[in-house]
């Protein structure tokens, strides 16, 4: 039955068994303990990469025995593809019997490297100590809670990047990461599909797998502590650094500053400046809006919305302006930090003039730099000059 079967039917068979395994696994997880021998056996055979496969989703579990059966019976080529079909399958490697584990350890590593799709994420798993189970449960819960909140695309993309980075880096380390580092044993942080809220149908590509990742399996690097705490901290640090990178893309001009502290300062400054801009703009609106006609306002709401989808020039200019204003007005802010914050009787107009003069200078700069938007810049320049005149007129009144 096993010999010469095409992968698809093998897959179907696997899939048919998944539900059974799910039930068994829930029970098995909490009872089995992993011992060091688990790795030694795998190490004896070859690279010793214990091949643990990610599995996400309801039907994502693959019994190790099934896998080992597959390994034994299907020839290498089919094995490769067979593995490939599994996608990322997560298996609780909690001592399902040394022999089956060793078997699985033996078959894929040679076969994995030619696999280009990189579906096997076995190097990038974290295997923590089983005795630390209590922490694991807590961590499990924490991960779950975190994962329930993380359902945005950004998060997924970040995960995807992290995942692929890990894959690339660790596939090369595959031969090095061996039993030496992980002799302490492993505790798998597994999530049963019933517990995870995000589990969906099993998928083979990395992208969708990463989307449903609730647990990140990180392998302890060679020469690093394999303590569960340190591993967890390393994961945490990596996550934080990844998000800092994302924020770095958002904040303009953060490429020069590196390091967490500097980055944080930049971000804080940027947020503060944006908030100040909102305040200032609301002030401007308060002065400008009485002159606005109500009908015109409604006209705007109808006309501008299709225009916004295209993005009209003023908006583009202002988009650049937000970034440049942030920089250019910093010295201005430091010079007169109180003016636009307190808004005294004298100050509002003066601050506005200062702002508008600042804007004018920026616009002139922009004019020199970007020609296509010159016309728009001219218009806005005129608008801003108009504003200064108006404010001066108001003062007179």
């Amino acid at each position: 039955m096993n010999m010469g079967l095409p992968e698809m039917t093998a897959l179907e068979r696997q899939r048919a068994k998944l539900l059974e395994w799910q039930e068994e696994k829930v029970a098995a997880l909490f009872q089995l303990q992993v011992h060091g021998g688990f790795y030694n056996e795998g190490g004896g055979e070859d690279n010793g990469v214990s091949t643990l496969y990610f599995c996400h989703g309801d039907d994502g579990f693959m019994g190790l025995r099934e896998v080992s059966n597959q390994c034994n019976t299907i020839d290498p080529n089919a094995r490769i593809e067979g593995w490939g079909q599994f996608g990322n399958i997560e298996v609780p490697c909690l001592g399902f019997g040394g022999e089956s584990i060793s078997r699985t350890a033996s078959c894929p590593p040679a076969a994995v490297e030619p696999v280009s799709c990189g579906m096997l994420t076995e190097p990038s798993e974290k295997i923590l100590q089983a005795p630390v189970r209590k922490d694991g449960f807590r961590k499990r819960k924490a991960e779950r809670m975190k994962s329930t909140k993380d359902c945005k695309e950004e998060e997924r993309e970040k995960n995807i990047k992290m995942y692929s980075n890990e894959n690339d880096s660790k596939l090369s380390e595959q031969s090095n990461c061996n039993n030496g580092g992980d002799k302490k044993g492993s505790k798998n942080r597994n999530s049963t599909p019933k517990k995870t809220s995000e589990s969906n149908s099993k998928d083979k590509s990395i992208v969708s797998d990463v989307q449903k990742t609730d647990y990140i399996h990180v392998r302890a690097r060679r020469g690093q502590a394999t303590d569960s705490h340190s591993l967890a901290e390393r994961v945490r640090r990596e996550k934080i650094s990844e998000r800092m990178k994302f924020l770095q893309d958002l904040v303009p001009g953060c490429n020069k500053v590196t390091g967490k502290a500097g980055m944080l300062d930049e971000i804080i400054n940027y947020v503060r400046s944006l908030q100040r801009q909102v305040e200032f703009l609301s002030m401007k609106l308060a002065t400008v809006s009485p002159r606005l006609d109500l009908n015109i306002d409604d006209l705007f709401s109808k006309e501008m919305i299709p225009a916004w989808s295209g993005g009209f020039p003023v908006m583009d200019m202002s988009a650049e302006l937000t970034s440049t204003a942030y920089f250019q007005l910093h010295p201005m802010h430091q010079a007169a930090p109180s003016s636009d914050l307190e808004m005294d009787i004298v100050n509002p107009n003066t601050s506005m003039e200062r702002w508008s003069s600042g804007f004018q200078s920026i616009y002139s700069l922009e004019l020199e730099q970007c020609n296509p938007t010159a016309s728009a810049a001219n218009q806005s320049l005129q608008q801003y000059t108009g504003l200064t005149e108006l404010t001066s007129m108001k003062m007179e009144i």
Partner: protein, 161 residues
């Protein structure tokens, strides 16, 4: 990322314009030409609150910071000041919440995340990881807010009396 931010922009713009119209209607009765600075300041503050509230409403309850901002704005309108804690306390008990906040405070002594917590609404109760995420989203929304307001002002100035 263009489509979501566009829709946010659009929705925010709509809401903001409507509130602006409402504000102007409400303050239109006193003589509009003669506007003292105090009135201007008050109107500016109302506009600012309107901007933030419309932004929060646009985002909805999807984000922690929008929920926190909504509570804060409601408090600013005159509700009880500790309604913020009350809203968060629906998830966990108040004692746990305060303990959580204390934990965050202790943890953050080294890194400069404290300032960020103060800036981002609802940042005090978030763990540093999700704080980063919320900051990113908050930042993007702030940028759209500024852009929309700027365009409104620019359009308004294009019509000199």
């Amino acid at each position: 990322m263009k489509t979501p931010s566009n829709s946010i922009k659009r929705r925010f713009a709509l809401k903001f314009l409507r509130t602006l119209v409402r504000i102007r209607k409400s303050t239109h009765q006193p003589s509009p030409s003669q506007s003292s600075t105090w009135e201007i300041r008050r109107r500016a503050q109302r506009i600012k609150l309107a901007a933030y509230s419309s932004m929060a409403r646009t985002v909805g309850s999807k984000r922690a910071w929008s929920r926190a901002l909504t509570m804060k704005l409601r408090a600013a309108m005159g509700n009880r000041p500790w309604s913020m804690i009350k809203q968060e306390s629906k998830k966990m008990t108040r004692r746990k919440l305060i303990a959580k906040r204390k934990r965050h405070m202790e943890k953050d002594l080294n890194s400069g995340v404290q300032e960020l917590r103060r800036l981002v609404p609802g940042g005090q109760w978030m763990d540093p990881l999700s704080l980063m995420q919320e900051t990113a989203h908050f930042l993007r929304c702030l940028e759209t807010q500024v852009r929309v307001m700027r365009s409104i002002v620019a359009e308004g100035e294009g019509f000199p009396c």
